[in-house]
């Protein structure tokens, strides 16, 4: 077992950068999204019941597909890397 962190110590952490992620309000909504074939094929994995990992580079397609499905996703940060 890893040792308990000492208070105030620098915490060891691994960074995962540029992660394409969709968070839903609840698991049922995530299921609803995964039931759409076009969305499901862009999802690389389900991190938690409400967190879907999107295939790298496919986030624009996911946002477009969500909008087509009548959702109004909140996109946090740039959808494309800055030029």
């Amino acid at each position: 077992m890893p040792p308990e962190p000492a208070a105030g110590a620098r915490l060891p952490v691994k960074l995962h950068q540029k992660v394409c992620l969709v968070l839903t309000e609840d698991a049922v909504l995530a299921e609803e999204l995964l039931a759409r074939k076009k969305l499901a094929q862009e999802v690389a994995g389900r991190l938690t019941p409400t967190a879907l990992l999107v295939r790298p580079g496919r986030v624009d397609a996911v946002v477009e597909e969500l909008r087509k499905a009548g959702h109004t996703p909140q996109v946090v940060g740039p959808a494309r890397p800055p030029a």
């Binding site: 915490l11 060891p12 995962h16 992660v19 968070l23 986030v59 109004t72 030029a83």
Partner: protein
């Protein structure tokens, strides 16, 4: 009154001038600095550049320098002052000078370059400029459009220089006629509509900056853009493409890789009507490819004379007394006679080709630059003169008074329609409404609609439910109806239901305890799992509280990061190489185990997890491939057994006896001799033979007969 040139800091233009000076050859820098600062010694070039820039910030010094210039040079700078933008294309500028009677060609430009009051727009990385004539010649030969610029202060000080224009013939207006003046909102409304449409669907441009056919048809056919305008006194062709040009040139749209997209509304839109109109005024010279009679003709190679011709008409009006009227045709006649584009050409001058009236009444009038009244001598004709705003713009008149403010000008109806009465509309309100409500009509009373799509777009652009409600209530004649407020709330809440992070930063902690510790210190935002946290804004990440044990790009291909124990079922994770997808994969295939003594996370394949994975779209070949990708080895036999046991043929359990002989040759003989061979089931090894239970007796008898009696059994 604030204008784009006075509200903006001088620095960008000074920086541009500094960049131009540093691209001059040293001799040229010394020549220019010699005129601007008259150095007494041999100063370093850098000093000369800085002192030259300082001289260009000194208003009395600039006034002295202007007085010493030849008239053509003063007029050229005055034109930049009138245009309210310190940069211009060389071609139209020289045409304007020629129309003012100066046919010296590029000489005024060369003089101003040497005087340090004008700069050529040199590309970055260009070879040092050795001669101004060379720049003009090379660029002209290459067909590159040339641009020049000065500093805003120089243009401002030169504004007001007598351009030597004559006063056009005046016409007596009817005693009963009243002067008409537009509210100035037609074009800001059109540009706001363009902004909204481009925000929804970017416009693509061809390589030569033309519109694609489909886009052009859309712009031409759009009733909001192509209508005559509520206030225009003359109908203009192709107002849609013109609105796009003006929106682009005034900063509402930006072009990136051949695509026009919506930018932020320029700050002038928050400063009031006149700063906004001045922002549009500065954009007029960029309206190339559009003509007042033919409409959109596309960006050709030749000179487009109409922006300059329109300016000349207005400059002629500036020569009139405040109350005097002129006929557009008289202004046009003067321009046709003096502007080099028409001079010497035999163009039909019939009424159908008259461009001044549509330009003045369809563009300058709605922009509040001119006033109009009916022409007593021509039915349907108009007379024009500069408005107070036009006189401030072009004739050195006092700043016009800001229009009266009517704060409550919106009527939000229960059917989600918003009526905006023009009396209280301001550019700032136009901009705010364009963010959240879709334009439906732009007549005397504008109509917009609050709908999910547009509200959502507004929220994407930084609006909030509170800011939308505040906008509608502050400017509404009545409180926002409950049904509309509920609708806005629903749309806003709906947006919160799905959040997409295109480039999120995730922190993976070694243990849940460490994540808890980070949470208690307020170092993480959204908690995803017991070991993963999301940082939505990387700029807020406080790295000093963390020790990085790894850094992984989500887009990088997966690596081998699993070690398989001897049992073939227990998997140990190499945390340094693991990626996020591994987490999701392990969750589908394994069950977690307590971490081992080495601290590595461990998972176990079980028959239940494997069977579930196989039935949930992880068939054996995919499983095999995944094992190779993640561990470097195919699926272990144990795991394969667990995964496929139920699909195998049923094993047969029988009783049998193993006969061990002394050597391999004896075994060979027993197998080959038909009498004993028929009694042997299978050879298990070099000296071991498998014999069915019922054949043990007969085999023993045959071996006794051979003199090879067996022990045991």
């Amino acid at each position: 009154m604030p204008t784009p040139e006075t509200t903006a800091t001088v620095d960008p233009w000074a920086e541009r001038a500094r960049a131009a000076l540093t691209r001059y050859d040293e001799d040229i820098v010394r020549l220019v600095a010699g005129r601007l600062v008259k150095p007494r010694g041999h100063w370093p070039v850098d000093d000369l550049v800085e002192r030259s820039l300082a001289a260009l910030r000194n208003a009395p010094g600039i006034d002295r320098r202007l007085k010493e210039l030849p008239p053509a040079c003063r007029k050229l700078l005055a034109l930049l002052g009138v245009l309210r933008r310190p940069d211009a294309a060389v071609g139209p500028l020289l045409s304007l000078l020629a129309a003012l009677g100066h046919t010296e060609g590029v000489q005024p430009l060369l003089t101003l370059f040497e005087e340090g009051l004008l700069f050529p727009d040199l590309p970055e990385g260009a070879v040092p400029l050795r001669a101004f004539e060379g720049w003009l010649g090379q660029a002209a030969a290459a067909g590159v459009p040339l641009h020049v610029f000065t500093l805003p202060l120089v243009a401002e000080r030169a504004r007001g220089t007598d351009l030597g224009l004559p006063a056009p013939p005046t016409v007596e207006a009817s005693f009963t006629a009243t002067a008409r003046e537009a509210d100035g909102l037609d074009w800001p409304v059109r540009m706001a509509v363009v902004w909204q449409q481009v925000a929804a669907a970017p416009l693509r441009r061809t390589q030569n900056h033309d519109f694609f056919k489909r886009d052009l048809a859309r712009l031409r056919g759009d009733p909001l853009l192509a209508g005559p305008g509520a206030e225009a006194l003359a109908e203009l062709p192709d107002t849609g493409p013109l609105a796009v040009l003006l929106a682009h040139a005034s900063g509402l749209l930006r072009e990136q890789e051949g695509e026009l997209t919506a930018a932020d509304f320029p700050p002038a839109w928050n400063d009031g009507l006149f700063p906004t109109l001045t922002c549009v005024w500065t954009a007029l010279p960029e309206a190339k490819g559009w003509q007042p009679v033919r409409g959109w003709v596309g960006p050709g190679d030749g000179e487009d004379p109409y922006p300059a011709a329109g300016l000349l008409c207005l400059l002629l009006l500036a020569r009139l007394p405040e109350t005097a009227w002129a006929r557009p045709a008289d202004l046009e006649a003067w321009v046709r006679e003096h502007h080099p584009f028409w001079a010497g050409r035999s163009l039909p001058e019939d009424e159908a080709n008259a461009w001044a009236a549509p330009w003045l009444l369809g563009l300058a009038y709605p922009l509040k630059i001119v006033q109009a009244t009916t022409d007593p001598d021509a039915e349907g004709g108009w007379l024009v003169r500069l408005s107070p705003y036009g006189r401030w713009l072009l004739a050195g008149g006092p700043p016009p008074a800001a229009p009266p403010a009517f704060r409550q000008t919106l009527l939000v109806q229960p059917n989600y329609e918003v009526i905006a009465y023009r009396q209280g509309l301001t550019p700032s309100l136009l901009a705010s409404l364009s963010h959240v409500a879709a334009w439906k009509s732009a007549g005397a009373a504008c109509m917009l609609e609050l709908n999910a799509e547009q509200v959502y777009r507004g929220l994407e652009l930084g609006q909030t439910l509170e800011s939308v409600m505040r906008l509608l209530n502050q400017h509404g004649m009545r409180q926002v109806p409950d049904a509309v407020a509920d609708g806005l709330r629903t749309w806003s809440n709906k947006r919160e239901r799905i959040v997409v992070y295109p480039r999120a930063l995730l922190l993976e902690f070694a243990s849940a305890a460490e994540l808890e510790e980070a949470a208690s210190r307020g170092l993480i935002g959204v908690r995803l799992t017991d070991r993963l946290a999301l940082v939505s804004d990387e700029s807020q990440m406080q790295y000093r509280h963390f020790r990085l044990t790894g850094n992984r790009d989500y887009a990088a291909p997966p690596e081998r990061c699993l070690d398989v124990d001897d049992d073939g079922l227990t998997l140990a994770v190499d945390a340094g190489r693991a990626d996020l997808l591994l987490e999701t994969e392990l969750a589908r295939l394994t069950e977690p185990l307590p971490a081992g003594d080495d601290g590595r996370r461990r998972y176990r394949l079980t028959q239940a997890t494997l069977r579930k994975a196989v039935s949930n779209g992880f068939p054996l070949p995919v499983l095999d491939e995944w094992f190779v990708k993640r561990s470097g080895e195919p699926l272990s036999p144990a795991a394969r057994l667990l995964a496929t046991a139920t699909q195998q043929a049923a094993p047969r359990i029988t009783r049998a006896v193993v006969v061990e002989v002394a050597d391999e040759a004896t075994a060979d003989g027993l197998v080959q001799w038909p009498v004993t061979g028929a009694l042997i089931e299978r050879r298990l090894g070099p000296t071991a033979l498998l014999v069915a239970d019922e054949n043990v007796g007969p085999l023993r008898e045959r071996m006794d007969e051979l003199g090879l009696p067996a022990d045991g059994g």
